[in-house]
Amino acid sequence: MLDSLLSLLPQILFEGLLLGFVYAMIALGYTMVYGVLELINFAHSEIFMIGAVAGVEIFRSLSNIIHNGYLLLLVAIVVGGLVSGLVAIAMERFAYRPLRRRGTTNRLVPLITAVGVSFVLQDLVRLIEALWHNEFFLRMASVSDLEGSVTVLGIFIQYKSIVVIVVSLAMLAGLNLLVNKTRLGTAIRTVAQDMDTARLMGINPDRVVSSTFFIGGSLGGVAGVLFALQYTTISPYSGFLPGIKAFTAAVLGGIGNIPGAMVGGLVLGELETLAGTYLPTLTNGTIGTEYKDIIAFLVLILLLLFRPQGLLGQIVKEKV
């Protein structure tokens, strides 16, 4: 069995890559918000889930109207990204900004708020879906032209997997351009460095923070749509595990560092898939597939012991 598993290695690496891109896109939301506010926005996993649910609902309601699967997916991605982005803005406006206004300096306060927002959003989605369709597990409708497949170099690839990779690459490249080449990007980096000085330079920090939440949130939303497309079943609690793993990816890559989040996501996706596939065979069933998450976190702990700033992170000097 090990031989045939080894011959499947390219396939496993490809699946890991897919998962890694999804993690990378979610991780960006964590990392961007952390970069600007030094806040770990735990409710980001719910932003991701809301994107997935929006995608499922678009597929459900429009698959009879739009017959081209790619067009349908485009609509789902745009709507999913928009909905998630707007929820993220609302979350910032009503939950985090009031805390900032009051000058709360304790880091724990917004963190607890984030956990609370996370619960509220989960149960809100659960309530809405229960009233709307009376469903808990939502299934992404199958669209035949996305389900086709090709085999390249012995790797079984579904068209939708290619879409996942292309869309995430485009989003990641777009984000890099946005952050490094535009005025908004410069403003975001400025606010990240020093909010008060940025204000003196004529930048409205609240608006920049809102934009950051919108960008991070819509990336998370798009990742949600792609996740639902790839793994087909979504529930109001589906965000938790991918969210916590993407957070891990962000820490792994160096939190606050955008390329780091991408690298961290890919590393984590590969690690998880490899461990999940090979562990039972290598240990003769003693350590089952379910330990894949533990392996990923174990690697994180080990890495942080030797490189506390993460793979690509820099040691940040205390702000004065």
Binding site: M1, S4, I12, R139, Q158, T232, T273, T277, N284, G285
Partner: protein
């Protein structure tokens, strides 16, 4: 003045009505969350039985009510509900649960006040093997169901290499282990690395890759339909046509919704709750279920209806033997063990530890049309409940 008298009369009428003592039957099943669709069937089945019995109980001078609890398929919630149930003195019996992992700890709570529980769906052997006086079930057991599935898999489907997955719950893992043991006895191979547990609900790719490498003739999944549905869908998308087999956890039309008819069609399952179509007597029940709830009754609704009727007839017996007084929980619990009821699902009688004396086990194949009612029954066996293992 006339008006006042009228109001007074109405008030007195209300008071006398309120004075009729209330008796409640509780249901505990997941009404929300992943297995909510099935848990609701259990609640509605019991509700119909209660509604039908209300006139009978009114004649005896009691007001009969249903108290539905949502255990969320979560042991903690089940136990918390159980504590509320035993503190409501009007409740004289519980119909439930759906998940064995919830039923086992919750029944420990009922036992504190000797409150009777009759289960329509819990198949883990430990439910009754604890030999508790108040715990009963009218369905079969996993130590018969798992092996029955294994016999069908090895003898009829000619499976030699089997990949076994379970969901790490008391139900799923127990069923999978019972299946595996019998399959190996019959000559099939299930090596250690082809017996895996997972709580994963969305990303089954690492498992599917192992299946690609192992190339089994059959995949056995001890778990609940919400998880197996997503698994079957991803398996099918990757072009793997290996048939899937599962236990009664698969027995819900929601499986087809989650997996899609194409992926679901290649699925076999054993169940302890026969489909509605095998019970000719259930016809009237199915019709009134449709009228009253607007939903289609599935197997577990019929079983829950019978469970409620077991408790109700035991209650009536207890009322009679106490000369019309309100029944005590002890009396009802004792009377349940003496019940001989010709229910919709067949004759119901319990053995000393609370198992139904003879339980039916069914092997079905999911119909390609996706219509759950059309699933073909491939095999039916009636097996007497196993005796308690000697200590």
């Amino acid at each position: 003045m006339k008006k006042y008298i009228l109001v007074l009369v109405a008030l007195t009428a209300c008071l006398t009505f309120a004075q009729a003592q209330t008796i409640k039957i509780a249901t505990q099943s997941p009404l929300s969350g992943g297995s909510g669709a099935l848990g609701e069937q259990i609640k509605l089945g019991a509700q119909l039985a209660v509604e039908e019995a209300q006139p009978r109980f009114q004649k005896l001078g009691f007001k009969l009510e249903l108290a539905a609890y949502d255990d969320q398929a979560n042991p903690d919630t089940g136990v918390a509900n159980a504590n509320r149930i035993i503190n409501d003195a009007d409740i004289i019996g519980v119909v439930g649960h759906y998940n064995s992992g919830v039923a086992i700890p919750s029944s420990e709570v009922y036992a504190r006040v000797n409150l009777v529980m009759v289960s329509p769906a819990n198949t883990n052997p430990r439910i009754t093997d604890r030999n508790m006086p108040d715990v009963n079930r009218i369905c079969g057991r996993d130590d018969v169901q798992g092996p029955a599935g294994a016999e069908f898999a090895v003898k009829e489907l000619k499976a030699k290499k089997i990949f076994v997955i379970h969901d790490k719950t008391a139900y799923g893992q127990g069923l999978a282990e019972n299946f595996k043991a019998r399959a190996i006895e019959l000559g099939a191979s299930v090596p250690n690395n082809a017996f895996v547990g997972t709580e994963e609900k969305s990303n089954f790719i690492p498992l599917i890759t192992q299946i690609l490498a192992y190339k089994p003739d059959l995949i056995y999944f001890g778990g609940i339909y919400d998880q197996i549905g997503a698994f079957a869908k991803q398996l099918n998308e990757r072009g793997i046509k290996t048939p899937i087999m599962g236990g009664d956890g698969l027995d819900s039309s929601d499986y087809v919704r989650l997996a899609g008819p194409a992926a679901a069609a290649n699925t076999y399952y054993t169940t302890v709750a026969g489909p509605v179509s095998v019970f000719p007597k259930a016809k009237a029940f199915v019709d009134s279920f449709k009228v009253k709830t607007g939903k289609t009754a599935e197997g577990f609704a019929v079983y829950a209806y019978d469970c409620a009727n077991v408790i109700l007839s035991a209650t009536e017996a207890a009322i009679k033997s106490s000369g019309g007084k309100a029944p005590t929980r002890d009396a009802v619990t004792k009377a349940v063990r003496a019940v001989k009821l010709d229910g919709l699902t067949g004759s119901i009688e319990f053995d000393g530890k609370g198992d139904i004396k003879v339980a039916n086990y069914y092997v079905l194949k999911v119909d390609a049309s996706g219509d759950w009612g059309k699933n073909a029954i491939l095999k039916t066996v009636a097996v007497p409940a196993p005796k308690l293992p000697a200590k």
